[in-house]
Assembly symmetry: C2
């Protein structure tokens, strides 16, 4: 593995990550070999192991980087908004629009959830995200704007709606983001009967 990174090196690393993300998403993690990844870039196998200790490490880095990017988007979206219900709404919309622009990551994250190896990093990512949501929920419950139910379960419920609609409507179905986001928000805030 490398010690330092010159600009040229950083570019190669990014290329490998992008290429790996695309192939993992298209064919799955196990069926994609390191040989496939370097072949797609037209370089030798050694290049891969210069930048990553293992195929496993590449996936881990992909998970960390994508979560970091998604969270930045969410934080930017709710910046300066005080109303907790509105913060939740904007967070949902930010998530959907991020996934609409990075569809390949959906499959990657889903796979990572099926392999114990990636449980730690995935759990950490989710914890952060759930904690953010819980904070807004608790604020809303105190204000009386949100029904007084277990905030942890509520947070997971919201994440479930976002995940499923991302998967079915954005990734598979290619529906317009705005339309999906509107229903997602309406469902989360008012339910079926609202």
């Amino acid at each position: 593995m490398r010690r330092k990174l010159t600009p040229r090196g950083r570019e190669r690393r990014d290329q490998l990550m992008e290429c790996g993300a695309r192939l993992f998403a298209e064919r799955g993690y196990h069926p994609t070999s390191v040989a496939d990844i370097v072949a797609a870039l037209g370089v030798g196998k050694g290049v891969f192991y210069w930048y990553f200790a293992s195929k496993e490490e590449l996936l881990t880095e992909l998970l960390k980087a994508s979560n970091h990017d998604l969270r930045k988007r969410q934080q930017h979206a709710i910046e300066g908004v005080d109303d907790p219900v509105r913060r939740i709404e904007l967070g949902i919309r930010a998530s959907l629009s991020w996934f609409a622009e990075h569809r390949e990551y959906f499959a990657i994250i889903q796979f990572a959830g099926t392999d114990e190896t990636f449980a730690p990093v995935l759990a950490r990512n989710r914890e952060i995200s759930i904690a953010d949501t819980i904070r807004h929920l608790k604020d809303g419950i105190v204000d009386g704007r949100i029904a007084d139910r277990d905030p942890t379960l509520l947070a997971h419920a919201i994440h479930g709606v976002v995940a499923e609609l991302t998967s079915r409507a954005l990734v598979d179905g290619s529906m317009p983001v705005g339309e999906v986001a509107d229903l997602c928000v309406a469902f989360c805030l008012e339910g079926l009967c609202g």
Copy 2:
């Protein structure tokens, strides 16, 4: 592969499916080899290929069988109930209790979703399930009991909540089914603000 099946053969086949389901859930599909499955049963490798054409076919059969069983449970739960909202509620509760009793299938289904190979059978399973839900939703919309929004997206939203709460609260968290089901129903019917 076999032609006919004697009672003895049927039992072996069931053993292989049960054993495969357990190992796939514990370690994942790719990391579990056919050799692992037959070793766990203490039989030769040829036995596996007598009952299944491939490892792939075993997973496919597991997906079909589990979905069939889950659907039976749902249909039994809503038998004789006319109110569409109540039917949805009972369907949600039936799903959660089924998964609580068959936790291993959650990981299997999640993995199958990451591999194109299993997309057809998974899509078919989901279509059936979503169609059931849509039927009740439309009935509810006609009655004015359910808000007039895209029933397909609503159905996916409900499935998302069920899936996520199954995964986080039942499989990982081991919370009591009843408690999770109550919140799941409340969230789906009334949302955060209800």
